[in-house]
């Protein structure tokens, strides 16, 4: 299983703060995971369609889309940060 957490408008479009899902078969990278997630609902599709506006952290560290995803990790998906 992987734990997905969403923030800002990614959270709003998907409609939940997060979800716990089995790692989809054949999903080896963050990019694969995003492709699969986008097929889950219209909300997921709306949140993840514009890939350039998406940032991902695996176990609380920023990663690139080609980073590996393995069972048991926490994957956070959100827009570029705007704090400070």
């Amino acid at each position: 299983m992987i734990e997905l957490v969403y923030f800002a408008w990614v959270r709003e479009r998907i409609g939940v703060d997060g979800e716990i899902l089995p790692l989809p078969p054949g999903a080896a990278t963050v990019g694969d995971l995003l492709d699969w997630l986008a097929t889950r609902s219209p909300g997921h599709a709306a949140a993840l369609s514009e890939r350039a506006a998406i940032r991902v952290a695996v176990d609380q560290s920023f990663v690139c889309f080609d980073a590996p995803v393995t069972d048991g990790v926490e994957v956070a998906i959100f827009p570029p940060v705007t704090g400070g």
């Binding site: 923030f7 609380q60 990663v63 690139c64 570029p80 705007t82 704090g83 400070g84």
Partner: protein
């Protein structure tokens, strides 16, 4: 040495700044930056959302990187979260050092990194509704001054 903190309560900049020199005679320079909510275009309030499990780690990383780059004698990073009104402080960065260049550079570096690498998101509340703030390319440009890698590249 650089203390980091996230809080829902108002930020007491004066206390954080004066704590860096209290009882010390080896500090030559203190630089502080405080960011405030501006009432631009009819803004009613600003709400800061964050990713609690990651925020602490991100701020500690930022602080450690600044300490590794400059000889600071102390510092404080305080970021507020939740809803706040125009005129209220969003963030405080204060750095103490023996000399002014290190204090200026470390404070600017901390802010540039906070803007591009810390998991906070702002939403703006106006009469017409609430909208998410879009990240600015100028913040990435500012962060690149320190040869930091961007938060993510495809």
């Amino acid at each position: 040495m650089i203390a980091v903190r996230v809080q829902a309560e108002p930020i007491d900049s004066a206390a954080a700044i004066s704590a860096l020199t209290a009882g010390r005679d080896d500090v030559g320079a203190v630089v502080s930056f405080t960011g405030f909510v501006r009432a631009d275009d009819g803004l009613v309030a600003l709400t800061l959302e964050h990713y609690p499990a990651m925020t602490e780690r991100a701020l500690a990383t930022i602080a450690a990187e600044a300490e590794a780059r400059w000889p600071v004698t102390g510092g404080s990073v305080v970021h507020r979260v939740g809803r706040m009104l125009p005129g209220e402080a969003i963030v405080l960065v204060a750095v103490a050092s023996a000399h002014r260049a290190a204090a200026f550079d470390a404070a600017a570096f901390l802010m540039d990194w906070l803007k591009t690498r810390a998991p906070f998101w702002k939403s703006e509340e106006r009469a017409g509704g609430t909208t998410w703030v879009t990240a600015k390319a100028s913040d990435d440009t500012a962060a690149a001054r320190w040869e930091l890698v961007p938060a993510q590249s495809d």
